[in-house]
């Protein structure tokens, strides 16, 4: 198996022993593979934020283990910060983490914490900036002079500069317009290919999931509700709607056409996929 990060029977309980005790994650086992983008979907309160915080050791499992390359990340709790370099976490609205004088210094914050030489830091900064489309000119600016979309990209570069083996992004495109979304999400596929790393993408947008992910993990009620390829997950829109989640509009259109007796086949969850399926059907069957 090509798995890099794995949760083994993980349970997480908030505020243990207080009246506010709440089970946020209930005996969850799931693994993430190298070279794949995995989508993580579920309602607010389904446990997915907790799961994200467990992946890089911000939270410690109440029970169970988190394995990175087969080793328990909590083996040596004092060295948990080392795990955070290997599992890069881009939190929601990451632009609030910007603080340094220039964008260059800000992106260099994590590499410097890693104890790299100034030359290596500079190299990492250039690389990460190029990756998210931050120009040389922007690097010399104060992060607070960037536009919203640019700030978001600079903040992501701040994590990418650690060259993490696993990159976790919590709603990286929240609040951005379609162009901004494409700029940020478009780079992920490349990232995965170039590094053979693993990307975990948390998003509410089923369209983005369908477009960018290979696999999908669905969470509900502190448990894993379903795991599968994008096609497997989105072809069962009834199962998704049972837990209050939608599938992309276009896959619903395809499903309804199939129900009415038009046999469509292929990637029925993106606009391009359904278009191709319709074209194939028209050329083969109807015309």
């Amino acid at each position: 198996m090509n798995e890099i990060l794995k949760l083994q029977n993980v349970t997480y309980i908030y505020g243990r022993g207080t009246p506010f005790e709440k089970v946020a994650l209930d005996n969850v086992s799931v693994s993430f593979e190298r070279g794949k983008i995995t989508g993580l979907i579920g309602h607010t309160g389904s446990g997915k934020s907790t799961l994200v915080n467990l992946l890089n050791g911000l939270y410690k499992p109440t029970e169970g283990r988190v394995l990175l390359d087969g080793a328990d990340i909590w083996e040596n709790p004092k060295e948990i910060y080392k795990v955070r370099y290997r599992v890069g976490l881009v939190m929601q609205y990451p632009e609030y983490q910007l603080f340094d004088e220039t964008v260059r210094d800000d992106i260099g914050f994590a590499p410097r914490n890693l104890g790299l030489s100034e030359r290596e830091v500079a190299e990492r900064v250039e690389e990460a900036a190029a990756f998210v489309g931050i120009t040389e000119e922007m690097l010399n600016k104060s992060p607070f002079d960037l536009s919203g979309g640019q700030k978001r990209r600079a903040a992501i570069a701040g994590i990418v500069a650690m060259r993490p083996d696993v990159l976790v992004l919590d709603e990286p495109a929240a609040g951005l317009d379609p162009k901004g979304r494409r700029e940020i999400l478009g780079g992920l596929t490349e990232y995965v290919k170039e590094r053979n790393s693993s990307v975990i993408l948390v998003s509410h947008s089923m369209e983005d999931m369908a477009h960018y992910c290979d696999n999908v993990v669905v969470m509900n009620n502190s448990k894993i509700y379903g795991v599968g390829t994008v096609e497997e997950i989105f072809s069962e829109s009834e199962k998704l709607s049972e837990v209050g989640l939608d599938s992309p509009a276009v896959s619903k259109i395809a499903a309804e056409l199939i129900r009415r007796g038009i046999p469509l086949e292929g990637e029925l969850y993106t606009v391009g996929g359904v278009r191709d399926a319709l074209l194939r059907y028209m050329r083969g069957g109807a015309l």
Binding site: H43, S147, P178, H204, A249, I253, R275, L278, A286
Partner: protein, 296 residues
């Protein structure tokens, strides 16, 4: 009879350099020569990408910003006139309510009901009237059971509903939602959009939803597309979203049904019909395919 509630003529606003403050960089895009006429009771979406000037327009409409040039008429009154009075400003703000993006940054009080009362208190209404309005506003947004709650313990969607109640309690004629769903999860978004539509249909309030989510814009009766500070498209929602090329050229998208028909069109399959909603798209495609097979 003139039933336009907001009329804007050749409105231009240029930000001074001084206003490019630490906290205000992104929306520092002005507006250029905008003319618009919004009718009483309309449900309008203003669509545009980040920094297109759409939020600036909103702030001009209720006098948070003063236009560089051009005219604004609210309910027939020229609010850009030189002799427009100080008291008039508060009348405009009462008539044109605003709900902003970040639900946290618009709640003033530590208790829900006191927050909703904030607007009516500022209007100097008698206490019994404030009480009546608070209760009715909270019930309209479905937050009656949270009267005594602390806002910071609510979810994003609930906070936004409280913020809306705070505006409803001022009995506005128009409510402008300035990216009010951008920070919410799908459930919160659904609730807020539901309330928007209910206010429009049942209370007759003019709703202007400023957004960059095309699926939200698709629900409005009319869409105004703003790009680079000017109005580039303005018309019935259906007509706007059938012009997929134009939308793409300014970095926007259409609903997936429209996109699918457009893609098919590009591939040489010309299909006549609607694709705004998924149901319409299915209908259009199905009829088209039936036509093909029956002809054969």
């Amino acid at each position: 009879m003139n039933d336009s509630i907001i009329r804007v003529e050749n409105l231009t606003f240029v930000y001074d350099d001084g206003e490019a403050s630490l906290t205000n960089t992104e929306e520092n895009r002005g507006v250029k020569d905008i003319s618009l006429d919004i009718k009483r009771g309309e449900y309008v979406a203003v669509l545009g990408h980040n920094g297109s000037g759409k939020s600036t327009l909103a702030k001009l409409l209720n006098m948070i910003l003063t236009p560089t040039s051009g005219k604004i008429y609210i309910d027939g009154v020229d609010i850009t006139a030189e002799d427009f009075s100080e008291d008039g400003i508060y009348d405009v703000r009462r008539k044109v309510g605003m709900v902003f993006q970040n639900p946290d940054n618009q709640l003033v009080a530590t208790v829900v009901e006191e927050d909703v009362a904030f607007g009516p208190e500022n209007l100097g209404l008698p206490r019994e009237e404030i009480r009546r309005r608070v209760n009715s506003a909270l019930s309209k947004v479905g937050m009656t059971s949270y009267v005594r709650h602390a806002p910071h313990k609510l979810s994003g969607g609930q906070k936004q509903r409280v913020a809306i109640a705070g505006i409803i309690a001022m009995k506005p004629e128009v409510i402008i939602f300035d990216e009010s769903t951008a920070m919410l999860d799908p459930l919160g978004r659904r609730d807020v959009i539901g309330i928007m539509e209910q206010l429009n249909r049942e209370e007759g309030i003019t709703v202007i939803n400023i957004t960059h989510y095309m699926d939200e814009a698709a629900r409005a009766d009319r869409v105004v597309v703003i790009n680079d500070g000017t109005v580039v498209m303005d018309g019935k929602t259906r007509d706007i979203f059938s012009k997929v090329d134009t939308l793409h050229s300014i970095g926007l998208e259409a609903p997936q049904g429209n996109e699918l028909l457009w893609e098919l069109n590009n591939a040489g399959v010309h299909i006549e019909g609607e694709g705004l909603t998924s149901e319409e798209c299915v209908e259009t495609l199905y009829n088209f395919l039936q036509g093909k097979t029956s002809r054969k």
